[in-house]
């Protein structure tokens, strides 16, 4: 579907995206995940055509897009702050792309209606953007993009400006929308929870480099680098005999038998979180704390200051390099 071949980008001699090759499949929900400044937005803007790669090629459906201007690419971008046209009504905003492509008036109307229905904007079509709430503006931005029936929809932190509750609602709406449209979504976010929930595949980026590509399950269960082990979910990193490995908090066990455990330490804190509870343990011979998560089947009375042994199964160790 989309093929990035050795795409590289530098600004003024500074490399922001290291050579990157990536194939995005048809109908896939792919997320570029990473902290701000990791190059994920630059990649999206290169696919959209607002930035030119310093080297490498970008193909859509086997067609080389690299040097096409944005208005001649068959994909649409949902902007981070929506970039709705303030002097146009919701309806006119959504119809804009169809007008530019000179669709017959009848089809324009029909497609606008479809997009409006899908994003639940029907009662608001005559309003202007400044008369809408943030969540509604977000919907208009999405409707404006999908009205064009692009092969690929690019989304640049589309929920970044919304509050938590609204974010959660829109996340599931987005996922449903993607399923019912069946088009490819390329999504940029720094929110790992959002990425896990929405994506078919996640590309984890750091400092302009890809750390790992995989399904949410693969990323969580078998992170391949220190960065992806710690960026997604909570993790405990151990080093022993020159190798580095990670064990998830729910894979650790705590016991009163300190002697035959792999590690030992002292409980610093006990956190009760409803369905789970969590121990923060200061290890004895290492300057680090680990966290151990128990579900509600654990009813042992833990208290701060207790000496505990920390143990895990060897198969739960995930190697993350030397």
């Amino acid at each position: 579907m989309i093929e990035l071949a050795e795409v590289e980008k530098s600004f003024g001699g500074q490399v922001v995206v290291h050579p990157l090759s990536l194939t995005i499949r048809e109908g896939e929900f792919l997320t570029l995940l990473g902290p701000s400044g990791c190059g994920k937005t630059t990649i999206l803007r290169m696919i959209a055509g607002f930035e030119q790669p310093t080297s490498g090629k970008i193909m859509l459906d086997g067609k080389d897009l690299t040097h096409l201007p944005p208005n001649r690419r068959d994909l649409n971008l949902v902007f981070q702050h929506y970039a709705l046209f303030p002097h146009m009504t919701v309806e006119d905003n959504i119809a804009f792309g169809l007008k530019m492509k000179k669709f017959p008036l009848k089809e324009q109307r029909q497609r606008v209606e479809e997009a409006v229905a899908m994003t639940q904007l029907t009662p608001l079509v005559k309003r202007y953007p400044h008369q809408l709430s943030g969540g509604q503006q977000q919907r208009v931005a999405i409707a404006r993009a999908i009205a064009n029936k692009p092969k690929v929809l690019l989304l640049d932190e589309p929920l970044g400006a919304l509050d938590l509750q609204l974010r959660k609602n829109l996340q599931s709406e987005l996922k449903q929308l993607q399923r019912s449209l069946g088009i490819t979504f390329v999504y940029v976010t720094h929110d790992q929870e959002e990425a896990m929930m929405l994506s078919d595949r996640i590309v984890i980026m750091n400092n302009g480099q890809v750390e790992q590509i995989g399904t949410p399950r693969e990323i969580y269960a078998t992170p391949s680098t220190l960065f992806s082990a710690t960026f997604v979910g909570e993790n405990n990193i151990f080093s022993s005999e020159g190798r580095l490995f990670a064990v998830r908090p729910e894979k650790l066990r705590a016991s009163r038998q300190v002697d035959d455990s792999k590690r030992s330490g002292e409980i610093m804190d006990v956190l009760y979180l409803g369905s789970i509870h969590k121990l923060i343990v200061q290890l004895d011979n290492e300057p680090m704390t680990v966290s151990i998560v128990f579900d509600l089947t654990d009813d042992r009375p833990w208290s701060i200051g207790d000496k505990v042994g920390v143990d895990w199964n060897a198969e739960d160790e995930v190697n993350i390099g030397p």
């Binding site: 959209a48 055509g49 607002f50 201007p69 944005p70 208005n71 001649r72 649409n76 971008l77 902007f79 702050h81 970039a83 709705l84 046209f85 303030p86 002097h87 146009m88 006119d92 119809a95 804009f96 792309g97 007008k99 530019m100 492509k101 000179k102 008036l105 324009q108 404006r144 993009a145 064009n148």
Partner: protein
């Protein structure tokens, strides 16, 4: 409402003293008569307004509107690209651009206008240059023409157009152009459908400033137009000074204020309906 009235009192007072009362005096005077030595005679008379319909004054009135509209249109056509260039330059170039646009204001306006006389007169710089390069053999009559007046007006008022348009362009969200491009608009279409409507306030402000200032300007006409091309403001000025016919001057002023308001309303209407038509997809 009652609470508001106290806080806006200073503004009302200011407007009252400096705008409303003088306007009322002018309106009142326009309905009065005039005695032999140029004094104003109390009483009601429509004579001043009747005089306006003299073909001489109607001609000048029409000429003034034409010249002011032309000045506004030329200023707009010249200013938009300039403002666009400045607004899209780097910060350093922007500062320089704005300084260059405003530099003429640092020099006395009369001196600047007389400088045009030196350039345009029969023995002036322009004629000499044209003769030297052999394009013409006899000097052209450049000064004291309607063209010279138009040139002078455009020259004088162009900053009034550049600055508001620059401000509007500068404040525009550049992401809107990216969005337009993403939705398939060519750069020219994005300019037409997004940039122009988004800078409408700047175009409106600049056009009103230039239009109204041009109709009220008599110095440029005096210096560059000579005796032949009078504007309504020259006539009004003459009524209050040499001719000593204040009622007639007042009547002309009122007529012109009303004309300007109508022109602004028409322009405003034209500007708003233009973007409504976007819906039909031209």
């Amino acid at each position: 409402m009652r609470k508001l009235s106290l806080s806006v009192l200073p503004v009302m007072l200011w407007l009252g003293v400096f705008l409303v009362i003088p306007m009322l005096i002018v309106v009142g005077m326009s309905f009065m008569g005039r005695d032999q030595v140029g004094g104003v005679v109390a009483g009601f008379s429509l004579e001043a307004y009747a005089r306006f319909f003299d073909p001489l004054y109607l001609g000048i009135y029409w000429d003034t509107i034409v010249l002011s509209v032309l000045t506004t249109v030329i200023c707009l056509v010249l200013s938009y690209p300039l403002a666009y260039y400045i607004a899209n330059s780097g910060p350093k170039r922007q500062t320089w651009g704005l300084i260059l646009v405003t530099i003429p204001f640092w020099i006395n306006f009369l001196i600047r206008t007389y400088a045009w006389v030196l350039l345009l007169r029969t023995q002036g710089v322009v004629n000499n240059l044209l003769i030297d390069i052999g394009l013409i053999h006899e000097p052209l009559q450049l000064l004291y023409t309607r063209g010279a007046v138009l040139l002078g007006m455009v020259y004088t008022f162009i900053p009034f157009m550049v600055l508001p348009i620059y401000v509007a362009l500068e404040q525009m969200d550049k992401k809107l152009l990216e969005a337009a491009s993403d939705l398939g608009a060519s750069p020219w279409k994005a300019f037409w459908h997004i940039t122009v409507p988004q800078t409408r306030s700047g175009i409106m402000t600049g056009s009103v400033l230039v239009y109204v200032s041009t109709t009220g300007m008599f110095v440029v006409t005096d210096i560059l137009g000579g005796a032949k091309s009078a504007m309504i403001s020259n006539v009004i000025q003459a009524q209050f000074s040499g001719a000593r016919d204040w009622p007639f001057g007042s009547a002309l002023s009122i007529i012109f204020v009303i004309t300007s308001l109508i022109m602004i309303a028409l322009f405003n209407k034209a500007m708003t309906s233009r973007h409504l038509k976007v819906k039909e997809g031209r």
